[in-house]
């Protein structure tokens, strides 16, 4: 099957405008007859469900949480990019497009990314109209800040809670449509199977997580907005319930999986403190504006930070990358931290951490404040107190969170940080219309693979989720549904629904009947360890081969020895988790296969065999400038399809931050 990305013809900057003016439309009377299923209520799902409800489609929305407002988009801290150029600092749609393509290490589609940059400005307008309380200047206008990988200030924010405010905006729009009867909401419901009829997606099977009962739902089209799969690593910054099940079921029914191995490891997270650790917490990228990252120059140094003098400290990012220093992109910063820790320079009890130190920022700000106040002879203590106030104003909520988790005061001792899994650039392969290789099945937001290439820039995930939901899918869905207006709602007694439900039932019964000895959690942890060690920040052929064997063995063990207490037809969190972990195990295998196939290093994917003499990632454009789209054939058997990436406007070059 040849992949057709359906990028419209014409100049890059005209493609989306042309598409919008020429795509097919569905008249209001017909929209009322068309049923749309939206799975997931994060930024992509909530914005899509609300917008489609407004247009008049009959929408059903599903989420596994107890309320659509709790989807994990809510935890995004830093901000959302938009090419508004409010700062008059030279920003434009083209620059946002260019930064995103370059940041993704030239592994994303030009057409999609340009569209994303074009609609970014509309997102800010829409959110402000909804009442999202973005940060403002004293003049009453919107405030901006900078993020990694850019030279302009284009990030809009609401303190360290931007994701929360944007999601609440989308959630309120969704609740409004629910009250108007345009959207029916199913909370505490999890999609467990996709239903296809005559090759098209026509519905889903869901499990009511309270009663345990299976339900059938028909839709003319199905939208998967179910987020990323970072929890395949067990430990990540994702929420505990984030999972791959919806997109994995779709994959097994024929949706190709794009670039599964592209994972973002975020450099600044609170390190693991012990085996009990259940999840990792991010410390926003914005901290690297003022914090300096260092480790001791001496190997296995056990002294506390304050006893290590300035001369004995290695500010390794500033040393290795003098041009960008502590503000190198995420993939680069993460690898550099791992390199130091692996070489025996890590700090803290686990030795798997580096310092993020605000002492010099506090001193610098303190001196500026003292100068403002005309205190030329301010004492060291006075300067510290003044500087601390400035740092508190900028990062107070993050410092508090750090102290709650670690019990250490980051104003006095440097933060300990370590990279952690944060985001997955890979996902279901979609064309320009966000449709997967299964007709009428769409993937939006982090669930698709499309816009971030091999590395996502900070503050771009929120932008993509809302772009897909508010501004892309309302057009592209209509273009397809216009051909479906004669399709009557298919009764869920159709044999395809019957079979899908039976398949789910059998699988659940099989899981419950294993009655083994090991908990689901324990299998998940073991999978996570394999993935982190062998398909994490550094990957090599030998390790990936081993991982493939280990995952196969783990899968066999899981299906013969997992223990799930409780009953099927009740609220049973162990059973919910078992289904998700079973899918993660299969996905882990595909990720390793993809990582093995891609012999180059690019973005977050670092193949140790492919690096420069200085240890930097070495891309291989001649052989790997393509999207790897995997087709599921059978257990452990996947076929690779290539979508070659064509760059008409941007000229791929080596990313250097020295």
């Amino acid at each position: 099957m040849a992949l057709n990305s359906k990028i419209p013809a014409g100049q890059l900057a005209e493609k989306w405008t042309t598409y919008k003016s020429t795509c097919k439309l569905v008249n209001p009377a017909n929209k009322r007859q068309i049923e749309i299923i939206v799975v997931g209520t994060g930024l992509a799902g909530a914005s899509a469900a609300a917008s489609l409800g407004e247009l008049g489609y009959k929408v059903k929305a599903f989420c596994y949480q107890d309320s659509p407002r709790r989807a994990h988009s809510i935890a995004a801290q830093g901000g959302i990019n938009a090419a508004k150029n409010y700062q008059n600092d030279g920003d434009s749609v083209y620059r946002l497009f260019y930064d995103t393509i370059k940041g993704g290490d030239y592994r994303a589609r030009e057409g999609n990314v340009h569209r994303l940059a074009e609609v970014s400005a509309n997102i800010i307008d829409q959110c402000v109209a909804q009442g999202v309380p973005f940060a403002r200047e004293y003049g009453g206008l919107l405030s901006n800040r900078s993020f990694g990988g850019t030279q302009v200030q284009r990030t809009f924010y609401a303190a360290g809670q931007t994701g929360q405010q944007l999601l609440i905006g989308a959630y309120q729009a969704l609740e409004r449509q629910i009250s108007l009867g345009n959207v029916t909401m199913y909370a505490r419901h999890e999609m467990v199977e996709l239903v296809t009829i005559e090759g098209k997606a026509r519905g889903i099977i869901v499990r009511d997580l309270v009663s345990g009962e299976l339900e059938r739902h028909f839709g003319h089209a199905v939208l998967l907005c179910t987020g990323g799969y970072g929890n395949v690593f067990y430990l990540s910054t994702n929420a505990m319930g984030c999972n791959t099940t919806a997109i994995w079921k779709a994959h097994k029914k024929g949706a190709f999986f794009g670039n599964p191995c592209f994972t973002q490891i975020h450099p600044t997270c609170i390190p693991v403190s012990g085996d009990h650790q259940s999840k990792l917490t991010l410390m926003s990228e914005s901290l690297r504006n003022d914090g300096r990252i260092w480790v001791p120059k001496k190997q296995n140094d056990t002294r506390i930070a304050s006893e290590i003098s300035e001369e004995e400290r290695d500010y390794y990012l500033e040393r290795r990358y003098p041009a960008f220093g502590n503000l190198v992109p995420r993939d680069v910063a993460s690898r550099a931290a791992k390199e130091r820790c692996d070489a025996g320079y890590g700090v803290g009890t686990s030795k798997q951490a580096v310092y993020l130190d605000f002492a010099s920022a506090i001193e610098r700000y303190g001196k500026i404040e003292a100068h403002k106040l005309g205190k030329s002879g301010a004492s060291k203590e006075e300067i510290y107190a003044l500087g601390k106030d400035v740092v508190k104003e900028k990062y107070g909520n993050l410092f508090e969170m750090y102290e709650k988790i670690t019990g250490e005061n980051p104003y006095l001792v440097p933060m300990r940080i370590y990279p952690a899994v944060h985001y997955t650039m890979g996902g279901l392969w979609v064309d320009y219309e966000l449709m997967t290789t299964i007709p009428n099945l769409y993937a939006l937001g982090e669930a698709n693979f499309s816009d971030h290439g091999a590395n996502r820039l900070g503050a771009s995930a929120l932008m993509q989720g809302l772009a897909d939901g508010y501004f892309v899918i309302p057009y592209t869905l209509g273009n397809n549904m216009a051909d479906d207006i004669r399709t009557k709602a298919i009764p869920t007694s159709h044999p395809a629904f019957e079979k899908a439900e039976n398949d789910v039932k059998e699988r659940i019964e099989r899981l419950m009947n294993i009655k083994g000895k090991e908990s689901v959690e324990s299998f998940h942890k073991r999978l996570g360890k394999i993935m982190w060690d062998k398909c994490g920040m550094g990957r090599n052929e030998k390790g990936l081969q081993e991982a493939l064997e280990e995952i196969k063995a783990l899968r066999n063990e899981f299906w013969t020895n997992v223990r799930i207490p409780g009953e099927i037809n009740e609220f049973n969190t162990e059973l919910d988790k078992a289904g998700r972990v079973a899918d993660f195990i299969e996905l882990g295998e595909l990720m390793c296969m993809d990582a093995l196939n891609r012999k180059e290093s690019c973005g977050g994917h670092f193949r140790e065999e492919s690096q420069t003499e200085e240890g930097e990632a070495l891309r291989d454009d001649d052989n790997f400038m393509y999207v790897a789209a995997w087709e599921y054939k059978d257990e452990s058997t996947f076929q690779l399809h290539r979508e070659d990436l064509v760059y008409d406007v941007v000229h791929p070059s080596a990313r250097s931050y020295k």
Binding site: E54, P133, G140, P565
Partner: protein
């Protein structure tokens, strides 16, 4: 910081489902690290229960970083436990010492029926938002964001109200099980912004009406909600809601 391990006694509310009656059960956990979060301590307990072939304790949780609002434990008589402005998931075990006994219950409110063990049904909050907690603006209608300057102070105040995570601790803490802090946070968030102005009267009336329909109690200015709110939502919001509501009653809803 010195880390240590502890053994604890836990008295936890168990309830099979909404139809059965519940009761406290006592559990013992050993070697709990002071570095663990409160929910990680529950993970340890649940792993122990699974290994004994028993059903683990059901509790709501998701982000585990204090923002999604899912976690909801009533710990030793306090919503989200003893730490000020802290959700259950951010409470850490260094609060406790070896030999302590900890009592854990679900949110108690007629309007939040227990689903299982510590899990309650908070869908009433969604219905209150659906009754009017929004600005009626369709996608694609917006003008340029900077066409509408908003005083920084107002925007900051609105943001403070909007930081509510909808966890329901205010209801659980209130002797009347009132939802006024939750409702007032949303009314304030939108009433403080010009975007929310056209609908402000109707919004206050409709949201309060829905709150009453859901069976939440009345506010008698006790202030437990503010004291236990993990996000520090201020009682001033309730005063604002009262003004909005009375104003709407007097002037009609248009």
């Amino acid at each position: 910081m010195q880390h240590y391990n502890m053994n604890l006694t836990l008295k936890v509310w168990r309830q099979k489902n909404s139809k059965k009656t519940g009761n406290f059960e006592t559990f013992y956990v050993k070697n709990i690290s002071s570095e663990m979060s409160f929910l990680e301590m529950f993970d340890v307990l649940n792993e122990q229960l699974v290994s004994e072939g028993k059903e683990p304790i059901a509790f709501d949780h998701d982000c585990r970083e204090g923002i999604c609002g899912a976690c909801s434990m009533y710990i030793n008589g306090r919503a989200h436990g003893p730490w000020h402005q802290t959700t259950t998931c951010q409470l850490h075990m260094r609060e406790y010492k070896d030999g302590d006994t900890i009592v854990v219950e679900p949110w108690r409110s007629h309007s939040f029926p227990v689903i299982k063990d510590l899990v309650v049904d908070r869908s009433a909050f969604d219905r209150i938002i659906a009754a009017g907690g929004y600005v009626s603006v369709n996608t694609g209608n917006a003008v340029d964001a900077n066409c509408l300057p908003i005083e920084k102070e107002k925007a900051d105040e609105s943001f403070a109200a909007a930081s509510c995570i909808g966890c329901g601790a205010c209801v659980a803490a209130c002797p009347n099980a009132s939802a006024m802090l939750f409702v007032s946070a949303k009314v304030s968030h939108l009433a403080l912004l010009p975007q929310g102005a056209p609908e402000r009267r109707k919004r206050a009336l409709d949201m309060v009406h829905q709150m009453d329909e859901e069976g939440f109690g009345s506010c008698t200015n006790i202030g437990a909600c503010e004291a236990e709110c993990p996000k520090g939502i201020s009682l001033e919001n309730i005063a604002r809601l009262n003004r909005e509501y009375i104003g709407s009653m007097l002037l009609g809803n248009s």
